[in-house]
Amino acid sequence: MRPVQYNENSKVTLAEIPEGYWGEGFMTTMFDKAIGAARANSMWPLPFATSCCGIEFMATMGANYDLARFGSERMAFTPRQCDMLLVAGTISKKLAPILRQVYLQMAEPRWVIAIGACASSGGIFDSYSVLQGIDQVIPVDVYVPGCPPRPEGILDGVMKLQEIVKNESLRRRNSPQYKALLNEYGIQ
C-alpha cells in the first residue's frame, strides 16, 4: 500500500475564535465579537467585474489564489444574497446608475471594495465617458490600487475588509454618522 501522509505539516490556518469565557461544554462571548467573527469569515462577494480587473479577480477566485479560503465560497451573482460588492474594472458614466441600483438592492450590512485604479479613481482613463472613481456614486470601504492589482493584492484588500467587519459595531448601521454618509450619496 502506498504511504499516506496525514496533516502532519499542515499549513492550514483556522480563523481565530474570539476570546470569551469557557466552561464545561459551553463558551460565552460578546455579541459584537461573535457576530463580527461570523460575518468576517463568511463574506459572500458580488463580483461586479467589468474589464481587466475582472480577469484578475477571476484568477483570485481560481485554485491558485483561492478566495474561497477566506469564506467567499459562494459568489452569488445577485445583490440580494451578498454582503460585499467587488467592483473590478472601468465604470463608465453610462453604467454608474446601474451600479448604484445594484448597490441599493443589497441588504444591510453591505460593504464595497473598489478593485483597481479605474474603480478607485478613473485610472488612466481621464475622459468624458469614464466615471472618475465609483465613490462618486456609492460609498466605498476598501480601495485596492493596481492596474490591475495582483491577486495577492485583491486578497489583501479582502483581508483588510475582514478586519473592518470584525471590529464593526453592531449599531453602526443605525448611527447618525452612517445616515449622514448615505445622505451624501442621496441614498435613504
Partner: protein, 163 residues
C-alpha cells in the same frame, strides 16, 4: 473588377459630381458630394458588388470652412476583394446627409454612433439617438472644440497632465 474599372464606371455614372480620387497606402478613396452619397452607394451596391459595409465614421476638421464635418464610409467588395473609402464633407452649421439604412441595415448603429460623437444628422434614419454616451449629454465629444478629459476633476494640475 479592378480599381480602374470602378473609377471609370463611377465617373461615367456620376458625371456631374466632381469625384476626387486618391489611393493612400493602396486603398482606393473617393471624395464625393454629400447630397449624392445615397445614390453613389446604391450604385456601388447594385452594379459594382460593394455589398459589405465595413464602417461609417466621422471626422472634424475645424479649419476647413464650410466642410468641417466628414462622413467616412468604408465599403468592401467581398467577391473581388476591393476596399473603397468614400468621404463626404458637410458644414458644421447644417450637418445633414442621407442615411444608408435603406441599403445596409448595418448602417443603423454605425450612424447612431457617428451622430453621438460628431452631431451629424442622418436624414432618413428611423431612430437617431445617442448610443454610447449618456443620454443626457448635450454636446458632441469628438468635435475638436471639446476636451477629452473629464471636466469635473479638480485635483489634477493642468500643466503637468497636459489637459
Amino acid at each position: 473588377m479592378t480599381k480602374e474599372i470602378i473609377q471609370e464606371r463611377l465617373n461615367q455614372a456620376f458625371t456631374g459630381a466632381a469625384l476626387q480620387w486618391a489611393e493612400p497606402w493602396g486603398m482606393l478613396e473617393c471624395t464625393i458630394p454629400a447630397d449624392q452619397n445615397l445614390a453613389i452607394v446604391t450604385f456601388l451596391f447594385q452594379e459594382l458588388g460593394f455589398q459589405f459595409l465595413t464602417d461609417i465614421t466621422g471626422i472634424h476638421y475645424p479649419e476647413q470652412e464650410g466642410k468641417e464635418l466628414g462622413i467616412i464610409t468604408h465599403l468592401h467588395n467581398l467577391k473581388d476583394n476591393i476596399r473603397l473609402r468614400l468621404k463626404a464633407f458637410v458644414p458644421v452649421a447644417a450637418p445633414d446627409i442621407h442615411s444608408l439604412t435603406s441599403v445596409f441595415s448595418g448602417a443603423d448603429w454605425m450612424e447612431r454612433e457617428t451622430y453621438d460623437f460628431f452631431g451629424i444628422n442622418f436624414v432618413g434614419h428611423h431612430n437617431l439617438k445617442r448610443i454610447l454616451n449618456v443620454d443626457e449629454m448635450d454636446y458632441f465629444p469628438m468635435r475638436k472644440e471639446y476636451q477629452m478629459e473629464d471636466p469635473t476633476r479638480l485635483d489634477k494640475d493642468d500643466e503637468m497632465f497636459g489637459r
